[in-house]
Structure formats: C-alpha cells, structure tokens
Symmetry: C2
C-alpha cells in the first residue's frame, strides 16, 4: 500500500488506529482454547469486529514464533485473511528484524514475498546494509525503531554525543538518507510524550508508528499534540487494551467497543487539526 | 550447556570453531534440490562431516524463515538432530531478536523452550527489559550484539559520547550489569581487528562470538591476537566458507576439509597461548 492510499484510508475512516494482534494462546478466552485453530479463530473474530474502526493490523511475530510451526501457520493464515477480506488494511509484521545485508535480504524475502505484509519493523543497531534490503521492494515499508515505548529505551537511545545529539536522533537523521516518507516510518513510543516534538524536528514528514497507548500508559492526546502532521502522519497502536477487553464469550464485541471508542476520539482529534 | 562444559569441549577438541548453518535453498548442490527435505538433508550431511572439528553450530533464522512454515520445520529438525547425535555441541540460534519485556519473554519461550537451543543472539537497542527475559533460563545464554562485522556497524555503534565512550562500549558496560560471564556473550565481528583489545578492556571474561572470518574478510590470527583470554573466550564462526566449499556431490567432504583446516589452525593458536 502506498502513502496516498494510507492517508486516504485514514481520512475516510476518521481513524489512525492500528490493532495489535499480539495473540497469546494463554490469554485468549477459555471457550476457544480447545479449538485446534484457537489463535486463528480468535484473530478472525477480532479482525471482523474491529475492521470498521482501524486502518492497520500489526501482528507481533513473537506471539506466533513462541508456538513454533503451528504459530507460523496461524500468522500466515491471519495475514491472508486480512488481505482477502479487508484489502484496505495496512498490515505490519512487528518483527524487529535486522542482520548483515546478505541476511536481511532473506528476512525481506520472508516478510515481503512469502508473508506479503506491507511493512516490517526493523532494528537500527547494525546500520545501513541491515536496513536497505527491505527498501528494495516497491510499495513496501520499513518501520525503523527510533524511540521505543519501554523502560529500557533509556539505556542506549538517549546517549548524547559532543554536539548534544542523541542516538535516536542520529537514527532518524541517518535513516532519512536511506529512504523517504514513501517507504520509511519510525517507531516512537507513546510513553515518550513531549519527545515527539524533537522527533518531528528531524522527521517532519515520515509516518510514526506509535505503540504504548493503553496498557503501557501512553496518552493519545499527548501523542497527537506533538506528533501529528498535515497528513496525520501517525499510526497509533493498541494491542492488549483491545484484544483482551473481555475474557468472556463477548470478547469480539468488547474489542469492537474499545476500538470504536478510540476511533471516535481519533475522529475528533483529526477534525480539530483540520484533517477530516 | 554451561561455561565449564564449553571450555572443556574447546580444550578437548583443540577448536573454537562454530559452523554457521546459513542454508539457502538456492545455494545448495543441484543434486539435492529435488529432495523435499533438501535443506535438512544438506544440514545433516554438513553436521556429520564437520562435528569432529567444531564445538558449536549456529543456524541463522533468516535462512529458515525465508521459506515460511517449511523452513521452521527444517530448523526444528536440524536442532533436534544436533541435540540427539552430538550432545556436546553448543547450539546458537542467530536470530537477533529483542522487544519490550512482555514480548521478549515470548521469544525466550520460542527459542529456549520449544526450539531448545543453548544461546540466542539479541539486539541491544531496546535496553534492559528487552534482554533480561532471556537471562531467566538456567543454562541458557544471551549473545548480545556489540560490534558487528558489517559495513553498517559504522553508522551507530561507533558514535561517541561527551566522555569519548562509544555506543558499543556503553552496550558492553551496561549489559555486564544485567548478566555475567556465565550467561552473557557478545558478538564482535572479525572485521573489527584491533577493536578487540578495546572490547577486552571492558569485557575481559565474557565469551565473544565472532562472525566475519572468511567470506567477510576477517582474519583468525588478528581475532586471536587481540581477543583471546585465559579460557579461550572465543567462538569463531564460519558459514559460507565451510558449507558452500563445494557445489558438487562432494560438498560434505569439502566442508569437512575446510572445517579441519580451521580446527588445525585453531589448535596451533590455542597451543601458542597455553590453552591446550
């Protein structure tokens, strides 16, 4: 999916919500667990219930890998289900991959040819040749970790050089030479609050994928206040707050209701900023 | 496998060689490709041929993921084959994972419970909570990226802070507070040459996993000169130079011959340093 289509979908739906499909078999409702396709059936119900309110889905690969071959089958089927039934959804594999160039090409093959998602999250530590192979696919996106939502983000991302430039700013500045706003987004955690304005100083046009609203404590209003640009430029993710909204048989309706609430809030914010 | 056993195996075999099972189906000998288990059959032959000369195997997950569910089956079977037939081999999944704490726990489940490897390579960018979950498994190891072998290592790993400390040194120093020489190794690329002495200044006791000898241009002698410690403290990896030594029907013998050459060179170096 290209940038124009993504922006159009955001405008049409009044939403920049991404639903995180972090489906842990140990956390899905009791009544589904006996089903041999429990994870896929759970995802299917969540997707059908939330699709009207979001523009993107983001399965995190760890949840699927943790179940080995069966997990990869579920991931495959989930992506295929979204593709076939909701072709206007942007699909992100949250895999945080990255390796020497030769090897990153194989991850690109895995995610952009076989699984056929729109975007992949990539870790920046290994530098340009670990990222470039993902940019060689027309219409596909790299979403590079810049400032993450977790407590450990303080360990290395904020280290300062002699000019006062921090590591995450180097990542933003350097990576913008490798790609552009049409194939490169950045991960910036919702918990980083006012740091969004520093990110926007360096990367005014790139879309930002924003995890950490909800369970991790980030605020949607703060994110929008500092992070929005004229195209919206934000995909705000919620995982646990939506998919585990209820542990009962009403889990899908409860997920829909949480997604709808976030969409309604987003529509107001988009309207305040003159985007819808 | 614990540190004592690993050191004992190195002494016994006169080798600190790790064979990288970076098996690309497009690069294995013609006569095997028609076999539906081509990758597993190739790995099995390589393992049987090289096991006398090495102490570790390192499948890089990208090569398996690039083939989807079938690839994960091959990885599973390969690890199981090594476990069952060569229980003294240290098995490393070169996956370069890392995510927020909650999610890293699931990667730990994938690699340390299901796949049951001894060690996993982990990317440091997200900090302590992305690394700690892997350290909660008794007898398992984190191998943290510090200074990688690729050209992109120059982009962020060498950034200097106000005190002249570089990012990779911060990674070494900080990570040593999370683990110790019994559960934490570092990746340092063979192409980094004299930088090994800087690494050893900060991390004198930790094992270093060293890729980049052979195809990437690193020198075994340089690595040993600057990187060896009293326990050896090195696992030097070779992938392409061994597993693709021949494209013909003699691929396994050719691999054995390359591995033996490296082992012979390593035995001499270990002897020079009084370790065997």
């Amino acid at each position: 999916m290209n940038r124009t289509q993504l922006i159009e979908n955001i405008r049409k739906k009044g939403s920049f919500l991404c639903v995180g499909l972090d489906t842990d078999i140990k956390k899905i409702p009791e009544h589904l667990r006996a089903n041999k396709d429990a994870v896929f059936e759970f995802n299917k119900a969540i997707i059908d219930a939330t699709a009207p309110y979001c523009v993107a889905y983001k399965p995190n690969t760890a949840f699927y890998e943790s179940r080995g071959v069966k997990g990869w089958e579920d991931l495959d089927r989930t992506v295929e289900y979204i593709r076939n039934n909701y072709p206007d959804q942007f699909i992100i594999a949250d895999a945080k991959r990255g390796d020497i160039g030769n090897t990153s090409s194989l991850y690109a093959r895995a995610f952009f040819e076989n699984l056929d998602v729109d975007a992949l999250t990539v870790a920046p530590y290994m530098g340009f040749d670990s990222v470039k192979p993902f940019m060689e696919y027309e219409g596909k996106w790299v979403i590079l970790l810049a400032l993450t939502s977790n407590p450990g983000s303080r360990d290395f991302q904020f280290l300062n050089d002699v000019t006062g430039t921090r590591v995450f700013e180097h990542v933003l500045e350097t990576a913008r030479k490798w790609g552009d706003a049409d194939n490169l987004m950045f991960v910036v955690g919702a918990t980083q609050g006012a740091m969004f304005s520093e990110v926007r100083r360096v990367a005014p046009d790139n879309f930002l994928l924003v995890p950490g609203v909800g369970a991790q404590g980030g605020s949607l209003e703060e994110v929008v206040k500092w992070g929005i640009n004229r195209d919206c430029g934000l995909l705000v993710n919620s995982s646990r707050g939506i998919i585990y909204a209820s542990q009962g048989e009403d889990f899908a309706e409860a997920a829909a209701s949480e997604a709808r609430k976030l969409r309604d809030h987003m529509t107001i914010l988009l309207s305040v900023h003159g985007i819808v």
